[in-house]
Amino acid sequence: MSEEFEVKLIELSKSFGEVKALNNFSLEMVKGELVALLGPSGCGKTTALRALAGLQQLDSGKIIVHGKDITDLPTNKRNMGMVFQSYSLFPHMSALENVEYGLKMRFRKVSNAERQKKSKELLDLVDLSSHMNHFPHQLSGGQQQRIALARALAISPNVLLLDEPLSALDAKVRSQLRDEIRRIQLEVGTTTLFVTHDQEEALGIADRVGVMKKGVLEQIATPAELYDKPKTSFVAEFVGLTNPIEGEVKNGKINVLGQDIQVLPGSVSAGKAKALIRPEAINLTKDSNPNAQILTISFLGSMLRVMLKLNDRTQVTAQLSNFDNINYRIGDKVTLKINPVPVFAKEL
């Protein structure tokens, strides 16, 4: 079974003074998979990526790629393609020369013509062959990152490492480039590790998402599983929005607002707890026994975001996607109902 994994990071540890950036961190990736590491600043996601690239010395642990232990291999011998957060194109080289650089370094026997042919193919892949003679300062941020992607892919890397490559770009370009990265990754089939602090980016692009906290991998799962079945309260709260509503856990269910809802494994097993309810799991109705009052209503195009105050003064946010026949106003008293999907219950 373990032979199926293309990349194995085994119990990596790294400390910077008192801070443990990686604490027995382990991760396995299968061939062609795109894994995103998600977490807040300082959680160790970039340290893990840099360790795989050979740019970060480890205190302990093992890195295996293609069944070969590369823990002590220098960066330039690892064959990892990397795209950095900051623009990293070589300023004195044109786009074409940038893409050719890795080929020159790794495959010295390849002829100039062949090298140029491959580089042009890669520039075609990122749709920038018309800019091959441009220098980095003549390119926009998005174009520079696309060239950097072509440069990283030119060496046919064992693993493609993307270190927050979209964070310096504006929202529109970021979304376009995110889709493009995924398209290209699927086309070339390179195993890819993508590091980001943006959950929308991670959930939108990855086959699996690993959520990290203080150097530890809290949970790794498909985006849907991570969202619907978080294993820890940190994952539940970090990925997507949640409304913590107080209730009582008994026999694997939590009683919230008079409803019994199943709790997810890892939740509080008995006693008082807070159910982490997703905004889209909340429905509103108008009846004779209201339990909440509308504070604000925001129209978001395809959905309506409603902020409410419960009778016990707890504030919750509901996201309504089917609101055509509803005519709510601020101050209206409503009854809040929760979809009976399993929720995570955390300690008070």
């Binding site: 690239a53 050979g54 740019l55 220098p74 960066t75 330039n76 011998k77 690892r78 064959n79 990892m80 393609g81 990397m82 950095f84 900051s86 623009y87 990293s88 070589f90 300023p91 004195h92 044109s94 650089y101 890795g102 370094m105 790794r106 018309s130 003679n133 441009h134 220098f135 003549q138 950097a148 440069r151 990283a152 060496i155 490492l161």
Partner: protein, 272 residues
């Protein structure tokens, strides 16, 4: 005239006043040197002093020695200082302050003190390397450190050295290829200005070479000045012009890059 003046803003007027003042300050002595070195019979000009330059064998050999020294010092800057600075910048940033302090130290020590301190060392140098004027390159390298360090350091800070080096390493470059192929081309302007300042300093240095009894260009010009003032001024002027030509190399090297960029813009138009 009034119309022209009204078109010029106050700032422009002040700018031209300052430029004229600085220009006059620099050019008047040079014209005076030219005038003095070409002075012939009353009311006539003569190139006698300039023609006489090659007839002083000591002068030619001293010019040659100074040029050799400049080349050796530039080699030392490029092959010792530049890699050391890059290495410290990338791998040992905590040593940056110490390096800066060491490199700037020669600025604070008068030349005479340096000579007194270094004279005993030179006795050992004579024994190992002989008494060639080229041995002055050791002390000259120390003298040029502050100027070279400043210009190279400014260039290193102007680029994202860490990311560029990591990108280069991840693409398969060895440390030497990363330094020579990526970092050095991007700090070329800093290295060039450091080198030009070093040349100017080596060609103009007098105190140390004189006190250590070496016959460099400035020492011989000084001696010559006592016998043939016009020729000594002619040689000084020639050295100045040479330094100016070197200073002109910097914009030229930048121009070669911008012309490359211009050619790209042409290509861009073709694609459109």
């Amino acid at each position: 005239m009034g119309q022209i003046m009204s078109k010029l803003s106050k700032t422009d007027v002040w700018r031209w006043i300052i430029i004229s003042f600085v220009g006059a300050y620099l050019l008047i002595p040079i014209f005076a040197m030219l005038e003095f070195s070409t002075r012939g019979a009353p009311g006539e000009r003569s190139a006698e002093a300039w023609v006489a330059i090659p007839t002083f064998p000591k002068l030619l050999s001293s010019i040659f020695s100074s040029l050799q020294l400049a080349v050796v010092v530039i080699f030392a800057v490029v092959f010792i200082l530049v890699p050391t600075m890059i290495w410290i910048h990338l791998r040992l940033p905590h040593l940056r302050r110490i390096m800066e302090l060491i490199c700037l130290l020669p600025l604070t020590i008068p030349a005479i003190v340096i000579v007194v301190g270094i004279a005993p060392t030179y006795r050992a140098i004579y024994q190992i390397f002989g008494s060639s004027p080229l041995t002055l390159s050791f002390v000259y390298f120390i003298l040029v450190l502050p100027y070279s360090y400043r210009s190279i350091s400014a260039s290193l800070f102007s680029i994202d050295t860490h990311t560029l080096s990591e990108a280069s390493r991840s693409l398969g470059a060895s440390t030497i290829r990363m330094i020579s192929g990526i970092i050095v081309p991007n700090i070329k302007v800093g290295i060039m200005s450091g080198a030009v300042i070093s040349i100017a300093l080596v060609l103009g240095e007098f105190t140390i070479s004189n006190l250590l009894n070496f016959e460099t260009m400035q020492v011989v010009i000084n001696l010559l000045g006592k016998r043939d003032a016009a020729t000594s001024v002619a040689v000084s002027l020639a050295a100045l012009v040479f330094a100016f030509i070197l200073l002109a190399i910097l914009p030229t090297s930048n121009r070669s890059r911008s012309s490359k960029l211009k050619s790209n813009k042409k290509t861009e138009v073709m694609y459109k």
